[in-house]
């Protein structure tokens, strides 16, 4: 499945509007915002259809996955939106992560826990909020949980270090950018090590650089760290290093522009578990056999010349 969707679930008293843009979405937030009522309404509709009293406005079928038979139920779901409520501990297993890879469904998980085995985006962490009440009817809608975070437009003033999730091409790229500004660049050697590295960098103003497209599980930890160490840590979360390079315009290609304008319309969930994987594939495919041939392991020298680095820096400012 690919594309962006709006799902509306309604009963006599409440309407829920859910915006989906990627294959993996997490809904969390305060208690009593209607998360479980939403899932129950979908389950009623799944069981009884129109005779449930629930109306679902969706271009795809909606299913609720739960209980011991989750695996056999899952294999029967095709081209659907699959919802999982909290309380289902299979959600945290490697078996589940493996079972949903290479499927053509979009998945929506209700949980506050970090799903480290799944590559979901920081932008796909949503919360349900009431928008309005009219004539005894309440309208709830999903909003991105971290939407209030401001984009960084200055990666140099007062910054002492970049802490980069990556240790390969992404690290090479940000090392070059940091070097030009006299800033130290450190690799965390993986996103799960960012917090422990931050602890070692106390009293240093740091920009954490990570692939936002797959940073969902780590977002809460780093965000909570910024909340409790307010002045010390900034976040720069492009979709991925490859997305940043593609966005810089270094590789001239009309299709790239169209894709970057609306990635959801191009990224097939059955092939790509995360947008990060897709943009790596895209950059490799568009540069294969050329002077700019991209490798994830080491940054091709083509990207390190003055003109191209400046273009990438410009893309950072504009992203």
């Amino acid at each position: 499945m690919k594309g962006s969707y709006t799902v509306k679930v309604r009963n006599r008293r409440v309407t829920y509007t859910i915006e989906l843009e990627r294959n993996l979405t997490v809904i969390c937030g305060d208690s009593a915002t209607g998360k479980t009522t939403l899932i129950n309404s979908i389950a009623f509709y799944e069981e009884f259809g129109d005779k449930s009293g629930v109306t679902i406005d969706s271009s795809k079928e909606c299913h609720v996955l739960k209980g011991k038979n989750w695996y056999s139920d899952l294999v029967s779901f095709k081209d659907s939106f699959v919802f999982v409520d909290e309380g289902n501990d299979f959600l945290f297993t490697k078996e589940f992560a493996s079972a949903i890879s290479k499927t053509d469904n979009y998945y929506i998980f209700v949980t506050r826990e970090n799903l480290y085995q799944l590559p979901y985006s920081a932008k796909s962490i949503l919360e349900l909020k009431k928008t309005t009440s009219r004539f005894k009817h309440t309208y709830n809608r999903t909003y991105p949980l971290y939407d209030h975070l401001e984009e960084i437009d200055d990666m140099s003033t007062g910054i002492s270090a970049y802490l980069v999730e990556d240790s390969n091409s992404g690290f090479d790229l940000f090392s070059l950018i940091a070097d030009r500004r006299g800033i130290k660049c450190i690799s965390a050697h993986g996103k799960n090590r960012i917090l422990s590295k931050l602890e070692n960098l106390k009293k240093t103003k740091v920009v954490v650089v990570a692939d936002g497209a797959a940073f969902g599980a780590n977002m809460a930890g780093v965000y909570d760290y910024t909340l409790t160490h307010t002045t010390d840590v900034l976040l720069y979360l492009p979709e991925s290093t490859e997305w940043l390079i593609l966005s810089s315009g270094i590789i001239k290609d009309k299709e790239i522009d169209s894709i970057l304008n609306s990635p959801a319309d191009y990224i097939e969930s059955e092939k790509y578990m995360s947008w990060e994987q897709y943009f790596t594939h895209l950059l490799k495919a568009k540069t294969q056999g050329t002077i700019a041939e991209y490798s994830k392991k080491h940054l091709n020298e083509y990207y390190t010349n003055n003109k191209n680095i400046e273009q990438i820096i410009k893309a950072i400012r504009g992203s």
Binding site: R13, V14, G29, D30, S31, G34, E199, Y225
Partner: protein, 145 residues
């Protein structure tokens, strides 16, 4: 005092919703604590032990209270069990701290709950360390969640 075990805790009751539905007693719903929690979290009014007036859902039974409310009532009324308090949103954190003022409470958290900016005292059971606020709790908790 509040004791927290972070991460997977096999002995904890994970699906608090199911457990609540099968064990709750009428008086859990009508005591002062429950009335206050239901008013604050669910924005609802307890009419009697089987009827709660919700502004969104109408008259509902206790089974349809918020997941966080059910877990708070379990923590209060079943002191010999440990419950997965990751079914509670941050809007439940103040009530957990309040329950822990009067007696030792142990909860299991599988995510980082925000207990607010004021000082508090929590024992992290994973490495038996006492922390006194969010700044200390965050790096400690994220070793495990």
């Amino acid at each position: 005092m509040l004791n927290i075990y972070f991460g997977n805790m096999p002995d904890a009751i994970y699906n608090t919703d199911v457990y609540f539905q099968n064990v709750y007693e009428d008086e859990w719903i009508t005591d002062d604590f429950a009335r206050e929690v239901i008013k604050k979290i669910d924005k609802s009014e307890v009419l009697d032990s089987n009827a709660i007036k919700s502004p969104v859902l109408g008259i509902i039974p206790p089974e349809r209270l918020a997941g966080g409310t059910k877990t708070l009532l379990l923590i209060k009324n079943v002191p010999d069990k440990v419950f997965n308090a990751s079914t509670c949103g941050d809007n439940c954190a103040g009530f957990i701290l309040r329950l822990a003022r009067d007696r030792d409470i142990t909860i299991n958290l599988r995510h980082m709950m925000h207990f607010g900016n004021s000082a508090f005292k929590v024992r992290v059971l994973n490495d038996d360390r006492i922390v006194t606020g969010m700044k200390e709790l965050v790096p400690e908790a994220y070793k495990y969640v």
